[in-house]
Symmetry: C2
Subunit: 269 residues, 2 copies
C-alpha cells in the first residue's frame, strides 16, 4: 500500500535523543518553502515520537522565523518541564546553523471533569451536499486537501475587488482521505488561505508569522472522526501596517470542536 503523502512528509529519522532529521516534500510546497501547516505537524510529530513524551497534545505555537529551503532539516525537541497534568516542550527546526522555525508544545493528561460546549458549530449543509471545489492556486499544497466551500471560496484573482468580510466556512479533509490524528489536525489548522486574499480578492505577498493551535479532543475522538470532512471556519479581526490576525475553528461532523487556532500573518502593500 502506498504511503500517504502526509505520512511521507512526516517521516523523521532519529539522530539521537531529542534530535530528528526531516526532509522537505515536493507535494507540500508553498509559494516559498513548505506549507506552514506541514511544518507545524512535523514539529509536533517530533515531540510525539519522543519516548520522554507524556500525555496528548494540548497546545502548539509555531513561529515561522525563515523559509525552509528544499532539502534536509533538523528538529531539536527539549522537554523543559513535566508536571502532574502538563508537559512543556520547546522545539527548533534548523537548516545548517540557521533556525527556520521555533515552537512550543504542551502535552496534557486529560481527565473527566465538568464539560460544556459553549461555541456551537455553525448550521450548514452536510459535506455530501456541498460540491468539491478544486484548488485554484498556483501552489502545490492545496492539492493535498479536498475543499467544499459553504461560504467564502477561492478568491477570484482575475477580478480584484474589496469585500467587507474575511469569513470562510468549508468542509475539508486530506486528499486522498486519511484517518484524522493530531498531526493531520495541526496541519489542517493552517488550511485557510490568508484572509487578506479573501478581503482583497488579490494575491499579494503574505505569510504566517506565528501560529497557535489548541487541541480539544483526545486521540480516540479524532480517530472516531475517521476520514470524513471537518467543518472549518476562519475570519480575520484587524488588518493594519503589514500584519493581520485570523482565528479558526475545526469541528468534527458530530458537532464537537476539535481544535481552535489563531495566527498573525505578514502582508505587503
Amino acid at each position: 500500500m502506498a504511503v500517504h503523502s502526509l505520512d511521507a512528509a512526516l517521516n523523521l529519522q532519529s539522530l539521537g535523543e531529542g534530535r530528528w532529521l526531516g526532509r522537505s516534500h515536493p507535494d507540500w510546497a508553498n509559494m516559498v518553502g513548505p506549507f506552514g501547516g506541514l511544518t507545524a505537524a512535523q514539529l509536533l510529530h517530533a515531540a510525539c515520537l519522543d519516548p520522554r513524551r507524556l500525555g496528548e497534545p494540548l497546545a502548539l505555537t509555531v513561529n515561522f522565523a525563515g523559509a525552509v529551503a528544499d532539502g534536509d532539516f533538523e528538529i531539536e525537541a527539549v522537554p523543559v518541564r513535566t508536571n502532574r497534568s502538563t508537559q512543556h516542550w520547546t522545539l527548533t527546526q534548523r537548516q545548517g546553523d540557521q533556525a527556520c522555525s521555533t515552537a512550543s508544545a504542551v502535552f496534557a493528561v486529560r481527565r473527566p471533569t465538568w464539560s460544556a460546549a459553549e461555541l456551537a458549530m455553525p448550521v450548514v449543509p452536510p459535506a455530501a451536499q456541498v460540491p468539491v471545489d478544486v484548488p485554484r492556486s498556483p501552489v502545490t499544497w492545496p492539492r493535498r486537501y479536498e475543499f467544499r466551500f459553504v461560504e467564502g471560496g477561492w478568491p477570484d484573482f482575475h477580478h480584484p475587488r474589496e469585500v467587507a468580510d474575511s469569513r470562510t466556512v468549508l468542509w475539508v479533509r486530506d486528499d486522498p482521505p486519511r484517518t484524522l490524528d493530531v498531526q493531520a489536525l495541526a496541519a489542517l489548522a493552517d488550511v485557510f488561505y490568508p484572509r487578506v486574499f479573501r478581503r482583497r480578492q488579490r494575491a499579494i505577498p503574505a505569510g504566517t508569522v506565528s501560529l497557535t493551535t489548541y487541541f480539544h479532543a483526545a486521540a480516540a475522538a479524532l480517530a472516531a472522526q475517521g476520514d470524513r470532512p471537518l467543518l472549518a471556519v476562519a475570519h480575520g479581526r484587524r488588518f493594519t501596517q503589514g500584519f493581520f490576525d485570523q482565528s479558526a475553528e475545526l469541528w468534527g461532523d458530530d458537532g464537537h470542536l476539535l481544535a481552535s487556532s489563531h495566527q498573525i500573518v505578514y502582508y505587503k502593500e
Copy 2:
C-alpha cells in the same frame, strides 16, 4: 513621585547580554505565584530592553510551566533570527535550574499598507457611565486594575449555579491609572478571571497553561490611548477534560483593536 506598581514589578537588572534578574512583587500575587499577565509583561520587557531588539512587539506566547515562587528569578532572552520585517526571540524564566515559564516573542517593523478593521468594537455605554466594581477576589492582583463591567461581572461564589455563557465585557485600566504601553497591554490581555468561574459561578483550581497575544497597534497609538479605560471582551469556546480555551479582544476607546489574545486554561473537577 512614587514608582507605579507595574513599573516596580517590571524592574529588571541586567546580568549580561540577554540575561535579566527580576523579583516577584507582592502587589501582583495570585492564588499561587504571580498574576500570569505580569509574567507575560516581564518576559516581553526583557526583550524590549535588549539593545539587539529591532521593531515593536507583534506576538507573544507564554507557556506557564510551573509556579514562580516568591523571590528572585532570571530571564534569558535569545534573538533567534532577524529578518527584514520581523525578529524572533525565545525567552525562558528560571528559578534555580527549573524553568518557570518559556516564551516566544516576535517583533516587527510596521509599514503603511492597505488596512481594514473587520471586527467592530461592541456598542456599549462609555466607561464614565459604568460604575467601578471593586474586585471581589481573595487574591491581590485584581486590586491593580479598575473594573467597570458591562456584562459578566465578578462571579458570585456564594451562589454557585451554572450559566450558559462565559462572555465578559468590561472597561478596564491600571489602578492607579498609567499611560498605556505594550507591557501594560500584555498584562491586561490576561485580566479576565478564568471563564470556567463565570460559567459555574464557583472558584475551582484553574490556571493558564499557555497565553498568546497579538499586538495590533504601534507604541504611539498606545500612548495616545493615555490612561483611559480599554474595552475588554472575553469568551470561552469549549470546556472539556480539564482544559478550556478563551479568546479576548482589547479595544482603545477610539474603537481601534489594540490586541487580540488567546489562552488555554487548566481546571480541576
